[in-house]
């Protein structure tokens, strides 16, 4: 870790004033500390935004949707009654991430903005494409945990559990910069390596995430989330799925199916969503949808098993949202 200057920002404006190419924002500090220790980032200044007032609240209800401050912790999201009751996928995504200790420290904003866990990216030994090098070492290397979709340039999987749930729930982010605020849909916020390989989203270098917005759910719709890891304690998913299912009568009227640990962004399985519309949600339709979701997958040498896994996890998550559990 390099020596750096520590600045406490108490307002968003103060934080914006401290930003620059040699500054790094720190909220919960979970991912930032990891990166500093490995030498992936060497900022001259660390701007602590943890103490900015007003950014640590969850507001709203089922009818109006949620307004989540970026400094809300994963632990808060996990146990918040409205989130748990009506936005189950979000609560479960928060509640299954990392460990209880980390969930007490990690913030919603930090979870969305954390850098990928690809072992080549995370190791100082590999100057990979994402770090300005020439090679994506995963392509012909050890890629059992890597992407099975959109992996042609850089094969990271997006690490944010909240991102997966947020895209499924149709959420958006309020970004504040020197020229004011703008709102971006979560689905568009996350960007592919083909757009810019050195980043995972469209946050401007001079912007801060100041609000996470989740729209109200259509009456009768339900969400569900599944994380599947090689182990449950302190591990990342090898397959992750968030779904929202809206129904009119017995038939599905709209579905949102998003895969995490599958692609460099939370990956929306559009073909699978279409398959479900107009059908009752049952084992057969869930199976068909799960199969459709995996069409077009481009697994690498070591991660073909993930297609089998995802088929199961998608089907099970859909059935859970359908009330089968």
């Amino acid at each position: 870790m390099n020596a750096f200057e520590w600045v406490n920002a108490t307002t968003v404006d103060e934080a914006l004033g401290q930003m620059g190419s040699t500054s790094l924002l720190k909220a919960g500090g979970v991912d930032v500390l990891d990166r500093l220790k490995e030498g992936l980032d060497a900022p001259k200044r660390l701007v602590n935004i943890r103490n900015i007032k007003g950014l640590d609240r969850i507001e709203g209800d089922t009818a109006t949707g949620l307004r989540i401050g970026p400094l809300v912790t994963l632990a808060q999201l996990d146990v918040h009654p409205v989130v748990r009751q009506s936005f189950t996928a979000l609560a479960d995504a928060a509640g299954h991430a990392a460990t209880p200790q980390i969930r007490n420290m990690a913030t919603a904003g930090g979870n969305l903005l954390q850098r990928p866990r690809c072992w080549y990216f995370r190791s100082r030994d590999f100057h990979c494409l994402k770090k300005g090098g020439e090679t994506c070492f995963a392509q012909k290397g050890e890629n059992q945990y890597h992407a099975i979709f959109r992996n042609d340039v850089c094969a990271i999987v997006h690490p944010s559990a909240l991102g997966t749930a947020l895209v499924a729930l149709g959420g958006s982010l309020e970004l504040t910069g020197p020229r004011g605020k703008r709102v971006v849909r979560a689905e568009e916020f996350f960007t592919l390596p083909a757009v810019a390989v050195d980043r995972e989203n469209s946050l401007g270098a001079d912007e801060i995430v100041t609000l996470i917005v989740v729209p109200p759910l259509v009456s009768g719709s339900r969400s569900a989330y599944t994380k599947l890891g090689e182990k449950e304690s302190f591990d990342w998913p090898i397959a992750e799925v968030a779904v929202v299912v809206e129904r009119s009568g017995v038939n599905v009227s709209r579905a949102s199916i998003v895969l995490g640990a599958a692609a460099p962004v939370p990956y929306r399985a559009v073909a699978a969503e279409k398959v479900l519309v107009g059908k009752p949600l049952d084992d057969a339709s869930a199976r068909t949808a799960a199969k459709a979701a995996l069409e077009g997958a481009t697994p690498l040498s070591g991660n073909g098993y993930k297609t089998t896994l995802f088929e199961t996890v998608i089907r099970r998550t859909l059935l859970e949202a359908g009330g089968a559990k």
């Binding site: 080549y120 190791s123 590999f126 290397g141 591990d235 070591g302 098993y305 896994l309 199961t312």
Partner: protein, 791 residues
């Protein structure tokens, strides 16, 4: 064999399993040894569940581990490791590091520890520096006033590499034309905890061996004949991965070089072996090297000698004239501080229709990186009664960190293969797996353990393989453990009684977490009629009488008899002082329940009152471990256990969860059953972690480890922890004044095999490679479906 020059006496010992049929044997033992210790049921401190005496210190953070040691003026050291897997170093420029702020010393490593070396030095590549043979190999070290300054300075050491071709995959390394890890045959010495391979083995390319036979002797019988006579022959191919050592406290020392001698605080399993190695490397008399291990944050076999970190820190301290702390970071720990070798085993077992074995043949190629000692033949050689056993085992060198002893070297690997093949033999013969083992295993302890475990786990309700209907299938499996009585004769204790009635024990032996501190207090307390908490235990310091290194499950077996012997001798001194007052000869003075009294009843006094009779401030006795009591024959005692495992296998995701483990073990006389249970818990958890999660992952294209941390190197956590039920049997053999045995290693040997057998029972599919990841389970299930569809 007892020392013929010393007086002896004959004693009768009841041997066998408590609760079972006991027989009596007579051994000649040294006359100075205490009387025969009765079975635990008749004792008041030994054999009673005793919470760790240092538990409070540990959980409150008051216990001082090596990582906690702070000395005045202490500097912080940092290792500079190789960034490539194979290279000749052209030059090393330390000038920038030396000039960096806070830096007090930079030292370039001259003598690499813990790796194999080319036996004929003239055949080694010419170089001014040790050849780099694995990424992470220590090259230099820096000492500075802060850890940060040391880390920054370490980055300034410039190393000019002439990069050489490398190989990190053991299968690739065996191919003709593979890059050579060593240009000529290489050897490596073993450690106190086992591991290492035999010396002078023929080597072709990167393959050293195969060697026939094992550490307990040459092959036995005629396997060719055995297979001819067999009614069934089962052959299986098995692979196990490289597992790295992940003790909570990494390897490390604080070295303090002074004009009158060297003091080293070390996170070690052997204070005496660190002392011996540093004395040798630095040309010091052993009396001028003091090694201290007050508390130790775990070790599984890789922490014996001084290690590269110990040698580097001492050089830095000598150069800087100040104490230097050098704890490895987790990355360096993974890369260079030892590991369990891989195995690739082809195992054949032949049996008669009645189950009796006719032949066992094991062919194994394992890699210990740039080290040796990948043998896994112990279980095949020693577990079952079989007239013909042949093991052929080779070390395959690759450009990766050297192996070190790791909790039962070779045995979890060997068991993973053997216990699955034995189950396959049982299935072919249509015999219950436990009934087959009763047939082929005459060991009485194991027989008892199978019976007790089967009753507890509900073996009779075990279903046929793959009989659950849904996607999640449950299964029950079993596997056995085998380990051996190793005894370290350099095991001494001093016990002192002070005039105020306080008692202390002193020994160099270290408590690496197994709980020997508490066991020693129990043994001394039993002898003196006190409570364990009455005894002050001072251990982990070479200034005290020499203690054994803790490896090979030797500690309790080796040191507790020395403790009892010393306590007995000092007790006799005290008895002589109070005999007159009690009106009986010293031999008739009894000490029990805090009282000192005549055996015949009558007069009595408290232990404190008795101590007031001391004519000097303290009395003391020093005693050493005597050779194992026996009838004159070589002692080859086996320990072991039987573990039953219940698993759930999600056949749609490939995720295995271990739900319950019933572990039935023997360890001679258990001194502290609570401590034994704790060791079994640790062994089982480490076994599950090995079976399902842990894996050193080397990048095939660069030879670098991609998961040198505790995030991507996966270790079992709380949610993967099953219900563990432990049953400890008491097996008496009359081998020493305490008759204690060992448990650390046997507790982890069978777990992976039992899980694999349980997975087979759940799914009908055999897992022949660990870790059993979802990817591998799904592949095995798919292959079995394909096979099923074809037939």
């Amino acid at each position: 064999m007892q020392d013929a020059t010393k007086p002896t006496r004959k004693e009768k010992f009841k041997v066998g399993i408590a609760g079972g049929s006991m027989t009596e044997v007579e051994y000649e033992i040294p006359a100075s040894e205490p009387p025969v210790l009765p079975p635990n049921a008749e004792l008041s401190v030994i054999g009673k569940r005793t919470p760790r005496l240092d538990g409070r210190l540990k959980v409150t953070g008051a216990a001082r581990y090596t990582a906690d040691v702070k000395l005045p003026g202490m500097l912080h050291g940092r290792v500079v490791g190789a960034t490539v897997p194979h290279a000749r170093i052209r030059s090393i420029d330390v000038s920038a590091a030396e000039k960096a702020p806070g830096v007090r010393a930079v030292y370039v490593h001259e003598r690499l520890m813990g790796s194999a070396v080319v036996s004929d030095k003239t055949k080694e590549l010419s170089s001014n520096y040790p050849i780099v043979r694995y990424a992470g190999q220590p090259i230099a070290a820096v000492a500075a006033t802060t850890p940060q300054a040391a880390e920054d300075a370490a980055k300034l050491v410039k190393i000019d590499y002439e990069v050489l071709p490398f190989v990190v995959d053991a299968d690739d390394a065996r191919k003709p034309g593979a890059p050579l890890v060593f240009p000529a045959p290489a050897d490596m010495a073993g450690t106190a905890g086992g591991g290492g391979g035999p010396a002078g083995v023929p080597q072709t390319g990167n393959v050293r061996g195969p060697v026939k036979g094992g550490m307990f002797g040459p092959p036995r019988g005629d396997v060719g004949k055995g297979f001819t006579e067999a009614d069934v022959v089962v052959e299986g191919e098995f692979r196990t991965q490289v597992q790295t050592h992940c003790p909570l406290e990494t390897h490390g020392v604080v070295a303090d070089w002074k004009a009158d001698g060297l003091t080293v605080y070390a996170s070690t399993q052997g204070t005496s072996s660190v002392r011996d190695e540093l004395a040798e490397v630095f040309g010091l008399p052993k009396t001028q090297v003091r090694v201290i291990t007050e508390f130790m944050g775990g070790g599984f076999g890789a922490k014996f000698g001084a290690g590269n970190e110990g040698v580097l820190a001492t050089h830095l301290s000598k150069k800087a004239g100040a104490p230097v702390k050098l704890m490895l970071d987790r990355r360096t720990e993974h890369l260079s501080a030892g590991n369990r070798p891989s195995s690739h085993q082809i195992l054949r077992v032949g049996a008669k229709k009645d189950g009796s074995l006719t032949a066992i043949h094991l062919l194994n190629y394992g890699t210990a990186g740039v080290g040796t000692g990948a043998g896994a033949g112990g279980p095949a050689q020693n577990m079952y009664d079989c007239p013909a056993v042949m093991t052929e085992e080779a070390d395959v060198f690759v450009n990766a960190g050297p192996a070190a002893a790791f909790r039962a070297p070779g045995h979890p690997q060997g068991c993973f293969a053997l216990e699955q093949v034995i189950d396959e033999v049982a299935e072919k013969l249509n015999i219950d797996p436990l009934a087959l083992r009763d047939k082929i295993d005459s060991n009485e302890a194991r027989r008892t353990e199978r019976r007790l475990g089967a009753e507890r786990v509900g073996w009779s309700k075990r279903k046929a393989p793959g009989s659950d209907a849904g996607p999640v299938k449950r299964g029950l499996g079993v596997a056995q453990s085998v380990w051996y009585r190793f005894t370290d004769m350099d095991s001494s204790c001093e016990v002192r009684i002070t005039r105020d009635g306080s008692v202390e024990l002193l020994s160099g032996v270290q408590d690496i977490g197994g709980g020997i501190r508490t066991a020693l207090a129990q043994v001394v307390a039993e002898e003196l009629g006190l409570k364990a908490s009455d005894i002050t235990i001072r251990i982990g310091d070479t200034a005290f009488p020499n203690g054994p290194a803790s490896g090979g499950s030797v500690t309790t077996n080796s040191i507790t008899p020395a403790a009892r012997n010393a306590a007995y001798l000092v007790k006799m001194q005290l008895a002589a002082l109070v005999a007159t007052d009690l009106g009986v000869p010293a031999a008739d003075v009894l000490m029990r329940a805090g009282k000192v009294e005549a055996k015949t009843g009558g007069k009595s006094m408290t232990f404190r009152q008795a101590a007031k009779h001391l004519k000097t401030e303290q009395i003391s006795s020093l005693a050493t471990r005597s050779p194992n009591y026996s009838d004159g024959k070589r002692v080859f005692d086996k320990y072991g256990g039987v573990q039953f495992v219940e698993v759930s296998v999600d056949t749609e995701t490939g995720v295995i969860h271990v739900d319950r483990v019933v572990a039935v073990h023997d360890c001679g006389r258990p001194i502290n059953p609570l401590g034994v249970e704790s060791q079994v818990n640790g062994g089982v958890l480490q076994g599950i972690s090995y079976a399902l999660y842990e894996n050193r992952q080397l990048d095939r294209n660069t030879g670098l480890m991609v998961n040198p941390n505790l995030e991507q190197y996966k270790i079992l956590g709380s949610k993967e922890t099953p219900v563990i039920e432990t049953i400890i049997i008491e097996e008496y053999r009359g081998r020493s004044s305490t008759d204690a045995g060992g448990i650390g290693e046997p507790a982890t040997v069978p777990t992976a095999a039992a899980i694999a057998n349980a997975v087979y029972n759940a799914t009908g599919v055999r897992m022949r490679e660990i870790p059993m990841t979802p990817a591998r389970v799904l592949a095995a299930l798919a292959a079995a479906r394909k096979e099923g569809a074809r037939t």
